[in-house]
Amino acid sequence: MEFKFTETQDKLRAEVRSFLEEELKHGSFEPSNDAWIDGYSKEFSRKVGAKGWIGTIWPKGYGGKEWSFVDRLIITEELLRFGAPVAYHWMSDRQCGPCVIAYGSDEQRKDILPRIIKGEVSFALGMSEPDSGSDLASLQTRAVETEDAFIINGQKIWTSGAHEADYIYLVARTDPDVPKHKGISEFIVDLKLPGITVKPIVDMMNSHHFNEVYFDSVRVPKSALVGERNRGWYQIAVQLDYERSGLERIMSPYPMFHMMLDLARQEPVLYNNPEVRHKLTDLVVKFEVGRLLIYRVAWTLSQGRVPNFESAMAKIYGTAFEQHLSHMATQVLGLSGQLMEDSRWAPLRGLASRSYLFCAGATLRGGTSEILRNIVALRGLGLPSQ
């Protein structure tokens, strides 16, 4: 056992930090919660790309560095800690790129991967539909193969960043006449194609990162198919393990957490209150446990094993922590805990109340905690499905 990083990894962390401190100094961003979801900045993502911090785990042949998953986690941990605007490249780096590497054609790899690595291309994830949430395999969006193309019709929902992204990584039904898991395929679809309409969904923070995406006879070239036709469901499973494996599942409100602790160190009314001390120290302990559960996922991946229940476990834990943290922070701030970001009097720049609203979705997006508990029970503990 070794609960520390190599010297090279410590150096990497220091480099990422000093880059971010420099950027902060120049005012290129303001630390924000959830910035991996709604902090869009092409410019910032390009800078991260230029530093060489996207696609680090990928094979060298595709422009990667073949670094370990733990290395990648160190980079993302610092980006999240600083609340940097990384949404533009986040999904591409985390799961779309790896999927293209695993299942894509050489043509797709050559086309997409170098652009992801430079931070020049953004993906949205086209999975959920109005009638297909947790039961993702029931999805109805159709892709009909013609002689020279696929024609896509249907609707996706909860598509974060579709209004900013260049492509949508689309999951659609290619065979309606077989059991539902066996007729699904994956596509990379250019969001500028005719027939695609992106409509905003405004959430309870009054903010827009979710969208509905409509496909009306959208004609995509055959080369858009990723991997094998009708094998999409099995390709997705791996993608979802990546999706659930990162520190963003516990660090979304980290900038607020950090500010909250700082405030408590300064304010006698906070640090003299035993209840507040209890709440905050409990959060510190819980955060550390979550961090270890997530590092365990990266470590498992770095050993060449698939974290098929470990990532579910980490996400259940981490997102519950985020909600608990947001609740505790608003509670500790009392009356002021309700003040929103634009209020003059809002403590912590209003990030606590923001976090309280935003985090309601944390245990839903990317697999609800209920579905994930099923995964832990079935895959991790071997409990019977019926």
Partner: protein, 379 residues
């Protein structure tokens, strides 16, 4: 970063698991709960033969020279098996204190005898105040005729009923952490009386009273008045060692519960196929793994000799709560049968509570975390 055990540790773990499965069945655990001594001398001798009683001590003192992390691996298996007896008191507590504070001569003699399985020892630290703070040590040792005279009452002293020697923390002067001294005291010495307490885990915690107990100059372990820092080190290791035991118990409770939910049939199907039960089990699994990583992180840091006050406190505060929470869920899944004396669940449920409150509970350690993260002391 490496979250796996080494090959040697895996081997130790396997050997310990097999050994305890054979030598420490639950029948023995139950028998020892009722037993006056609370341990099997025969098993103790076998454990000594395995090298367990000398596991963490340097070879030059007759030990095996394994690391604290290795010891944690063994303790995890002991927690899994609910091993009864004075291993923890002898090796972790008294052995730890002797390692920290003892003179070369004391280490040679005492650690050698412990390693051979010939000496059972314990640490007499806490008192009726039930506190782990230096301020609350009130047992006194007054200098007299070249030696000391000890007076007062120690409470919650584990295995004093069978110990050959006790390391007693007593006040030789001063206040707070100043002026505390460690003494080696023979439990059979005149003026020492020992009464077993009736406890939730049916372990052998004792009240030990000292009525003008005379000890010689050679009874001092370390230096007069300088004992507390040594106690603090022992307590840090003891807290994490207790975490390791809890991780072992927690893992076993999870496995028992998962197995039961696969076998128990209601409504025509195994209850483990119901999501309500699956979710309880998933929550238990998260608590087990969380406890494992936070505990082993602290054990690794202690093993490496790194400053780890915060990590130790985080480990004990989390694991204390998680183990208790997990045994409660285990009971919920087991239904009525788990509540019976004949079922093994209750062995763990009771031990989880005892482990929670020993060496500082969640609140105690969260206080430590508070200073570690820089919250000023409250007014």
């Amino acid at each position: 970063m490496d979250l796996s055990l080494s090959e040697d540790q895996e081997m130790l773990r396997k050997m310990a698991r097999d050994f305890l499965a054979n030598e420490c069945p639950k029948t023995l655990v139950r028998e020892m709960e009722e037993d006056e001594k609370g341990y099997s001398p025969e098993l103790w001798a076998k454990m000594a033969e395995q090298g367990w009683t000398g596991l963490p001590f340097p070879e030059k003192y007759g030990g095996v020279g394994y690391s604290f992390l290795d010891l944690a691996v063994l303790l995890e298996e002991m927690g899994r098996a609910c091993l009864p007896g004075p291993y923890f008191s002898t090796v972790v507590l008294a052995g730890g204190a002797i390692m920290e504070a003892g003179s070369e001569e004391q280490k040679q003699k005492l650690l050698g005898e412990i390693s051979e399985g010939k000496l059972i020892a314990t640490l007499a630290l806490t008192e009726p105040s039930a506190s782990y703070k230096a301020n609350d040590i009130q047992v006194t040792a007054a200098a007299e005729g070249g030696g000391h005279v000890i007076n007062g009452t120690k409470l919650f002293v584990p295995d004093a009923n069978v110990a050959d020697v006790m390391v007693v923390v007593a006040r030789t002067g001063g206040q707070g952490a100043e002026g505390l001294t460690l003494f080696l005291v023979d439990p059979k010495a005149s003026g020492v009386s020992i009464t077993q307490l009736k406890t939730i885990a049916s372990d052998k915690l004792c009240e030990v009273t000292f009525d003008k107990v005379k000890v010689g100059q050679d009874a001092v372990l370390g230096e007069v008045g300088k004992g507390w820092p040594m106690v603090e080190t022992v307590l840090q290791k003891a807290a994490v060692a207790k975490c390791a035991e809890m991780v072992g118990g927690a893992q076993q409770v999870l496995e028992m519960t998962v197995n039961y939910s696969k076998e128990r049939v209601q409504f025509g199907r195994p209850i483990g196929s119901f999501q309500a039960i699956q979710h309880h089990c998933a929550n238990m699994a998260i608590d087990v793994d969380g406890s494992r990583f936070i505990s082993y992180q602290a054990a690794w840091m202690l093993s490496e000799g790194m400053p780890s006050t915060k990590e130790v406190a985080m480990a004990k505060s989390w694991t204390s709560d998680a183990y208790r929470r997990l045994t409660a869920l285990g009971h919920q899944v087991h239904g009525g049968i788990g509540f019976t004396k004949d079922h093994d669940m209750q062995l763990y449920y009771r031990r989880a509570k005892a482990a929670e409150v020993t060496f500082g509970d969640g609140d105690f350690h969260r206080d430590v975390v508070a200073s570690e993260i820089g919250l000023p002391d409250p007014a």
